[in-house]
Symmetry: C2
Subunit: 536 residues, 2 copies
């Protein structure tokens, strides 16, 4: 599949303590990762006692990049160069062993990597190199906290899927279907856990991070990058229930954590910051903290990665310029025609319906969409110029991992249909918008040469060729039509072609009022593509 | 009808030049209007040469209120007291004849008047005295620019209707169906209009307002107040087509106009500021001016009247704190279930769908809703906790005034049904919200004692009593049900009563699974009201 060709570059170059001079300069691909490694003090608490950063420079451009303590007396500063050519750096620190280090490297053109995803044209996305990016995400909240074998299986599943974004939590999750202890924790323990009534009571030292935990997370983010998958990284979530207490560390520890993780991860080109999942369900954090937390992330990320906050039942202030896009939970918004567009038009930024309930068969109603409903949600989103994220909560046999929680295998019927839609989008000329947004909720267009009409559940024996007058090309334009069966993944070209007559009211028809025969099935769409006019 | 009893108080007290002392103090009802009249210079250009204002004081509270020149050497300062008791004032001016005037009056309790409408509880409205206000508006863009007889007929029509808000333009309108010259213009002419090709070319002196124009507007706003109707006053609109040029006066003249009209009208309790109709269609004003214009209005309105801006096809930044509520054009948002709520939940302010197309029979598609579609739009809005505004474009015979444009008579089928809905709302305990917003788009509740379920087009022979579990009262709660025919305006009580069982999944049923027989008609709703539990 196409996306498998997008092997992202994850070059990690380590410079050891001092940059040798007059040698062939170190090379890093554009949007790859350059890493300075410095030896420094390990006594006291290096996490809080020391700070180190570097100023990277190319011509007049300067990036101030925070470093971090990686344990065992090792300090690192990571940088993602966004322009080819020579870069130099100088380190700064409160400790003499870490400051005043200088060096240089050469940034080369990227190979297959497209760089980070950025916002393009108000409502859509592209890679930094200009390649179009349409988010087709899935949900894997706690996949990195499972056994290694399961994590590898998850990666294999992703490699064979059509997903190009994963919503995943930094902190482990304690919730129905996911109650296992992870192998690694983000903080050091300050003593032996106390057993109280059979449950461990954790004594975290919130001033000391566990570098192994973060190195593992980084490996998995790089694994996703190799598959061309963006890591929509959830920095806080409410699924703790007092078990580890990671949802209620307090403002000082939260802020230290945000500074630490942004220092470690901002140089990863495929990272997106999701400030929270269901922020409003994290009862220990008042609404007022989220602006400050988001500013901490933004201020410590030199590259401006995509940044959002995801709601439970009450939205955050999605319009705030802090957020590059809206990450919305609301299944209803993509359950039927005429809905998905409403939020988008008010926000003037991309909208991703990042939780629309999950394809599944569990008791909870948010986990029992049919595959048809999930695929329909994706089509509803895409024709309105918005995006939708998948999740799966299928338990076919006792002990099945639910993909949404732990990863493992996908069992649902929607993923191949979602991949099919992604392929259609990537073959098309650009993102879709409703052509006549308040009067025709089915007809989308990329431009005047390319339309998609989605019929949803509606079945009909035939369809008279017609388009909205609004944003249509002039009379005489010729089109061909493909009948798309969104469920059976077939594309059937119609042999005839169609020529626009003069508008009739608010519609334009084929000048001979030609019809297309349609199979009497639901979930059909039409792809209508401009063709050259025949010679007279 | 109930709203006719809400005769708003419009007391206008004129003090002549100097306040006599040791007499019975002048009395003004709360939210009435106190007016200081001063004689000052008439030479030069008093509109631009002089300024006058007054500081009104009661205890520690002070209001700085701008005055205005009313022609013939007369200057006025108007004040709407919002608290009973004695108020004093002192005038300030750049001219000695106008400054240092002092006086006092006594504000008495209001009679029937409820005061200005304000925002209540994030998404709704109330009057300043706490009385609930549900906007049920209509559209009368150019009614004050028609002949006096037609204006009087419009007022008679409104008096007999259920509307309690009118969207109306300050400037006359030049557009299809409305091309007559008004009797009065807002500016003085600086010379005789030049005839060029049969069309008058106007020579406005944009530094001199025409007080008669504004006095007429004020009379009509007071006429609406007497009917309990809010004047949603549109300060700018695009319907000029280069005829008078009132849509493109330039920023300096626009700002003078805003200062003048806010000085004249802020003391009118029933005024709302609508910065524009279809702001994005006013091509002469870049988007950037609207924040500044809105700030001018807010800064010159001491009372914080409701303030909004209405869009054509592209919204303004509705979330900005400048705007007390969202005034939205979008018929699609209330054309079907599950839509109206989406914008509201993102904006955290009241949403009024102020233009949803019009009931009518004209060629343009925005003017050809059926009465059924218009009434359905109102119900869609109200069950989602939003509000909808009516407009009528019916031309039954050539020469008919279209109510939307000129006023006159209402000819449509929707107004009595809208009045019926208003009556239902005003009899209820409070505004509605969807009880289970993303899973049940039909069931609204004011609280756990009061539900409205709206079925729209759906017809069914019977209905098994059930409510969403979410936000439902505990098992054992008893309810009675009224079957509402929203089109035929009937309310039929169901003889039986219903008792909630324990929840079954996400719904709660009557403990005997009782059903209600329904007439096989569309446009039905149910009103479900808690009753006292019977003694066992």
């Amino acid at each position: 599949m196409k996306h498998l060709l997008l092997f992202a570059l994850v070059f990690e170059i380590t410079t050891s303590f001092a940059q040798p001079k007059n040698l062939v300069p170190v090379q890093v691909e554009r949007w790859g990762r350059y890493e300075i490694t410095l030896k420094g003090p390990s006594e006291g608490n290096p996490f809080t006692d020391q700070w180190v950063k570097a100023e990277f420079q190319q011509g007049a451009r300067r990036f101030s990049v925070n470093g971090f303590y990686d344990g065992d007396g090792v300090y690192k500063i990571r940088f993602m160069p966004d322009a080819t050519g020579e870069w130099t750096y100088t380190t700064k620190s409160n400790h003499k062993a870490l400051r005043g280090k200088t060096g240089a490297f050469v940034c080369t053109a990227s190979g297959a990597g497209h760089g980070p995803v950025i916002v393009a044209g108000t409502w859509h996305f592209k890679y930094a190199d200009g390649t179009r990016y349409y988010p087709f995400g899935t949900t894997l909240y706690a996949w990195t906290h499972q056994g290694e074998q399961l994590q590898e299986q998850t990666l294999q599943t992703l490699a064979a899927s059509g997903f190009n974004k994963v919503r995943m939590c930094v902190f482990p999750k304690y919730y129905t279907y996911v109650e296992e202890e992870p192998a690694l924790y983000p903080f050091e323990q300050s003593g032996v856990p106390m057993q109280t009534g059979g449950q461990a009571k954790w004594n975290w030292d919130l001033t000391r991070f566990n570098p192994a935990f973060f190195r593992h997370l980084e490996k998995r983010i790089d694994d996703l990058a190799k598959l061309g998958i963006e890591a929509d990284l959830i920095l806080f979530h409410p699924y703790d229930k007092g078990h580890w207490g990671f949802d209620s560390l307090g403002e000082a520890a939260d802020t230290r954590y945000l500074q630490y993780i942004t220092a470690r991860l901002s140089s990863f080109h495929n990272v997106w910051w999701s400030m929270a999942n269901e922020f409003d369900f994290i009862k220990s954090k008042p609404r007022a903290v989220w602006d400050a937390y988001t500013k901490t992330v933004i201020d410590n990320d030199p590259y401006g990665h995509l940044c959002s906050i995801h709601n439970g039942s009450v939205y955050y202030d999605l319009w705030k310029p802090l957020f590059t896009h809206a990450s919305v939970q609301n299944g209803s918004a993509v359950a039927d025609f005429g809905r998905a567009i409403l939020l988008k038009n008010a926000l003037f930024k991309p909208v991703i319906y990042d939780e629309v309930c999950y394809e599944g068969n569990i008791t909870q109603r948010w986990g029992r969409l049919s595959g048809e409903e999930m695929v329909h949600a994706f089509w509803q989103g895409i024709i309105a110029g918005t995006y939708v994220t998948h999740g799966e909560t299928i338990e076919s046999h006792p002990g099945d991992t639910l993909f949404w929680a732990k990863g493992g295998k996908l069992r649902g019927t929607s993923p191949p249909r979602i991949a099919f839609l992604r392929k259609i989008m990537e073959e098309g000329p650009g993102p879709l918008e409703l052509a006549d947004m308040w009067k025709d909720e089915q007809t989308a267009q990329a431009d005047t040469n390319y339309y998609i009409i989605y019929f949803g559940k509606q079945m009909q024996h035939d369809w008279v060729f017609n388009l909205p007058k609004k944003n249509a090309p002039a009379a005489g334009a010729r089109f061909r039509v493909d009948i798309i069966d969104t469920w059976n993944r077939s594309i059937s070209p119609v042999k005839d072609s169609f020529e626009l007559a003069q508008p009739d009211g608010y519609r334009v028809f084929d000048k001979q009022l030609k019809k297309i025969q349609l199979p009497l099935r639901p979930w059909l769409a039409l792809r209508i593509i401009r063709v050259e006019n025949k010679k007279q």
